[in-house]
Symmetry: C2
Subunit: 301 residues, 2 copies
DNA sequence: GCACGGGTATAAGTATTCCTTTGGGGTCGG
DNA sequence: CCGACCCCAAAGGAATACTTATACCCGTGC
């Protein structure tokens, strides 16, 4: 049972004649006639009776017409649903982002996306970069916002594409009572901090800290470790150490008891958008990427 | 939105991979891959994400799959319904037949058809041949049982095909009190009846009566006219005239007060089945034709 | 009565679509 | 690292689809 022929048959029934169907289809009459013949052969029964002024459906033809109509309706519904997705009148993006982005640029981007495409639904899940990549690989997220510290090769996951969308500068964070707390925008010389106690972040942040200090000529005395930038700042405010934090984290939250200074030799981290290779063919994902990029562009540099 | 591609896509979704769909379809993998590519181009969005061990549907793919499933269901239903009609598990035949056939061979044929194909529904409508042809032409009947007297050209309706299926001999009907009432199977000589009063039937039957008598050398004195073979016999039984009736009418009903004799020179009428030209491509009609033919065959001659 | 205009079908030829073949890239598991 | 399996892209032959050309049938109107 050939579906195309069924739809041609539907036109015949609608027009009441083979020639009429040919006109509405923009074909010649024999083309439609052949379709009808093949369909009748497949069906094993006459579907129409040829009368002087056209054709008239047989019982089998009437039965077939009802099914053909139902199929045509479904086909239109499918096209409509797809159009809604393509034109971003609906759709869902499952987004994974690391905490400090989730608190700053991601909400801003979601808001922008919501203004541009009110029908698109975004579901955010907070995840550190490795977990975010795992979510993508497992098909549980469509798009991830990740970062990599300068000089660190980000793990390349097969099938995922990564695009850099901006840099997040890293700052020195000190207790307010620290001798270097004042000084404004003047870069601090890291070598003057060789004897400090340090607080490190996640594994890759800690590696970046070690590398930076080594290039400054010393090995830091790391006393504490935590992923959480609120915890980090609480420790620092109490004078339990000093640390490095990216600007996004400080934008999200800066504790009253700490001072933030730039320092020479601090390499920024790079922000990335990651998604499955063909996911940029998905309109909602593409729109989310655009919104994130547009939001992050001012943060660049 | 190409329906075939939609059904191929459905196989991809079912199999979970392009290669798997190709296996179930008996095609090569690139064939299926091209269908998918075209479908995605038409849709304007990715429908699947290519993963190491196959593909995974996107949101748009899931939406499309639901519609494709619905279409496939309808398609199977259409095939099933057609099969029921073709295999005569159901179907309707609208039959038109003239009165004496409707009382004799047609019920027998309907019974035979009902035994052969219990699912086929027959609707009988009694109609003299001209009306029966009009019903066929108007599409209100599928098959007609008609007759034509020997030597009469039946009206040829365009688009209808007529097949002779037997002959119905015509008999002389007399009052029981008539001098010729006795005599059994010995043919009566019509010329001995030139002085009788006659009762004629329908227009064409009357014409046949006139022709027969003329060939016998006289013009009949037609006193009464009626289509109805019961009325005809009532008149004859009362001695109001004599007449000719076909055997089918006498099979249906023979009045107690009449005698039936063969006569030399009485030409039989021919029974016909008439239907629209392609209606023999309709299984239920074909089955009804067979049943009628099988029932009429013994009546032949 | 016969040409005309509507409808139908069939036959043959050209186009197009479809599927296969071939070759190559990517990822997983031994 | 190789083999198995998945995917894609490009090119060619085969099948299908549509057109052209022709003929038939029926109702109508000159």
């Amino acid at each position: 049972m050939d579906v195309h022929r069924l739809l041609v048959f539907r036109e015949i029934a609608r027009a009441g004649s083979v020639a009429g169907a040919a006109r509405t289809l923009g074909w010649t009459q024999p083309a439609v006639s052949q379709h009808l013949r093949h369909l009748e052969r497949q069906a094993g029964t006459a579907l129409v009776l040829r009368r002087p002024r056209g054709v008239r459906l047989t019982e089998a033809g009437e039965v077939l017409l009802r099914h053909a109509d139902a199929i045509a309706v479904r086909l239109h519904a499918a096209a409509d649903d797809l159009a809604a997705l393509v034109q971003l009148r609906e759709g869902t993006v499952r987004l994974a982002a690391f905490p400090s982005a989730s608190a700053t640029v991601v909400p801003a981007a979601m808001s922008l996306l919501g203004r541009r495409h009110p029908g698109v639904d975004v579901r955010l899940r907070e995840a550190e970069p490795p977990e975010a990549l795992a979510l993508l690989a497992a098909g549980e997220a469509d798009l991830a916002v990740t970062f990599a510290h300068a000089g660190q090769e980000p793990d390349e996951q097969p099938g995922l594409v990564r695009t850099a969308v901006g840099e997040d500068p890293v700052r020195l964070v000190l207790p307010r009572s620290h001798p270097h707390a004042a000084g404004g925008d003047e870069p601090v010389d890291l070598r003057t901090l060789a004897a400090e106690k340090w607080i490190a972040g996640c594994a890759r942040c800690a590696a970046s800290l070690l590398r930076t200090c080594r290039e400054a000529g010393f090995t830091p005395d790391v006393r504490h470790g935590t992923d959480d930038y609120v915890v980090t700042q609480a420790l620092i405010a109490r004078g339990l150490g000093i640390g490095l934090l990216p600007r996004l984290a400080l934008d999200a939250f800066t504790a009253p008891g700490v001072a933030v200074r730039p320092a020479a030799g601090l390499l920024p981290r790079t922000l990335h958008l990651v998604h499955p290779r063909e996911a940029d063919q998905i309109p909602a994902v593409r729109a989310a990427v655009r919104a994130l990029r547009d939001t992050l562009a001012p943060a660049r540099g």
